[in-house]
Symmetry: C2
Subunit: 315 residues, 2 copies
């Protein structure tokens, strides 16, 4: 059997940037000197829906035909991707169906439901969310919007780096957090096309280091994530995202749970912005000296800001 590598090109990211414009905020870039290095934070925590996920979700949904939209959008996620799909689907008048664990935080269910999405719950211990979503797709003819492993999602997420580099100008390096790798693969693709000399890094919790281990092994390695960075708990890199990361990303920088919390707290108190633990992971890599010393300027994607007050006060 012949396998065709499905991947994305810089042009896909550029097209996505035009396509998603009606739905997505051009988020601000905050910059300052940190330990003698210029740091540019791309504030996707200030994005619509509180995270970069609206970029990929709206790129996928705005790519669909009217007939496809009428059959609805299906996804599985307990987090920011669910809300992003709900927002983008509502924008085009399509029905979104979100498969969520029955024990998902009520606040996340409500913030998804308020955009008109239908929520289907499942038992995390006994059922597979992928199978349930596939079943709904089979029955309705709807379109699956996977959280990361889709070229339209990857290209959409890459628009964060496109805006960052347009606003900040040339940078020595770029860092994005890695969960399934949608954001990192999209950002690496456009960043390397704009400037082949830019060094691209991923940042991962040490306690969810599947991409780090996979890069070292040269193949998919599965882990059991145990991290407060709930957006980065994918147990292994994506099938489509991983080859892009292998090709374009120099290294994965690992940070501890304490470093993640301290970075989130520092962003809150010094930078005056709310960044959820997953979003603070690449900032932790900068604050705690994980970057090569010779890098004088770095762009950092702060991927989201959705965090409960109760969690925030514990940072």
């Amino acid at each position: 059997m012949e396998t065709t590598e499905i991947t994305i090109q810089a042009e896909d990211v550029r097209q996505a940037a035009v396509r998603i414009r009606p739905l997505v905020r051009h988020t601000p870039v905050l910059f300052d000197e940190v330990d003698g290095r210029l740091v540019f934070f791309k504030c996707e925590n200030l994005q619509r829906g509180g995270a970069f996920k609206i970029r990929g979700a709206s790129n996928l949904i705005l790519s669909l035909t009217p007939a496809e939209l009428r059959r609805g959008i299906v996804t599985y996620s307990s987090g920011n991707h669910a809300q992003a799909v709900a927002i983008a689907a509502a924008h085009v008048g399509a029905q979104a169906t979100i498969v969520m664990p029955e024990d998902a935080p009520r606040i996340k269910m409500e913030s998804t439901r308020k955009y008109g999405a239908r929520i289907v719950t499942y038992n995390r211990a006994t059922e597979s969310r992928e199978e349930i979503a596939a079943g709904i797709v089979k029955k309705t003819g709807g379109t699956l919007a996977p959280p990361f492993d889709d070229p339209r999602i990857m290209a959409g997420q890459g628009t964060a780096a496109l805006e960052l580099l347009e606003d900040a100008g040339p940078l020595d390096a770029l860092i994005a957090p890695v969960g399934g790798g949608g954001l990192l693969s999209g950002c690496a693709t456009i960043a390397k096309a704009i400037d082949p000399a830019i060094r691209v890094f991923g940042a991962e919790p040490a306690q969810a280091n599947d991409t780090f281990l996979s890069l070292a092994a040269g193949k998919h390695v599965r882990v059991q994530p145990d991290t407060i960075a709930d957006g980065l708990r994918a147990p292994e890199p994506g099938r489509l995202t991983f080859p892009v990361i292998q090709r374009l990303v120099e290294a994965i920088l690992l940070v501890s749970e304490d470093e993640i919390r301290a970075a989130a707290r520092r962003l809150l108190l010094e930078w005056k912005i709310v960044v959820e633990p997953s979003g603070a992971v690449p900032a932790a890599a900068v604050f705690f000296g994980k970057l090569p010393a010779e890098i004088r300027s770095v762009g950092v994607v702060l991927s989201g800001g959705n965090v409960d007050f109760e969690e925030m006060v514990q940072w």
Copy 2:
């Protein structure tokens, strides 16, 4: 004795905008629909030093001659203005001397001292900060940089509204918080010059309603402020700021302490930004329906973000 009214013109604000550019961030504007109205938040909490105060301080300091700068800058403030003067003075290599109450929060003293400012403490109960500052000016020949009652300060603060209106386009209304009135008088001056139809409002804590009462009385009324909005505790409007406010501001909107806290919390959780209570006062006016209903678009100056973690967790 003839009195000459010292006031500011829109042109002063425009000149300030050019003068302060090396020192001041062009802060982002975040916007969204709130209760059917477009709201544009000018994020001075993300400003250098964490507040708009750097605008006025750097306009004053960058207006001085080299000879004046050599004699130093003197001010009295326990808050954001102190830090702003320290930053701007350090930028031009001038010595700043800040008169602060001896019981000022240690964190505020340290964040001022780290920019190289000299701190002179006084006893709040028995001494006058204005007299101490005047004594230092007399001895050193330095320049006094008052917190609000100075045309260079007022013009500098007005640049926040200039940027906001340039970025947001025409708006029905503009709201800024009122302490001594430096920010509001500067913002009103430029806003009315750009668009005479714009309606300009101040926002004040009900428990520090000196400008509200003064406008009603047609003369300076002194109150004893008792509010968590520590930046708005001036007991009466400024001598120079008040006539500008009388001429250009339609009304002062009053908000309760609970409304201030709730607004700060909402900005934190929904908008993902840290805004100190003083900065949240005009947002509270919007969130709690204090604006005339027919206003469809409003610019809101979120004046600062300097708040301790311990205070934030109580919102």
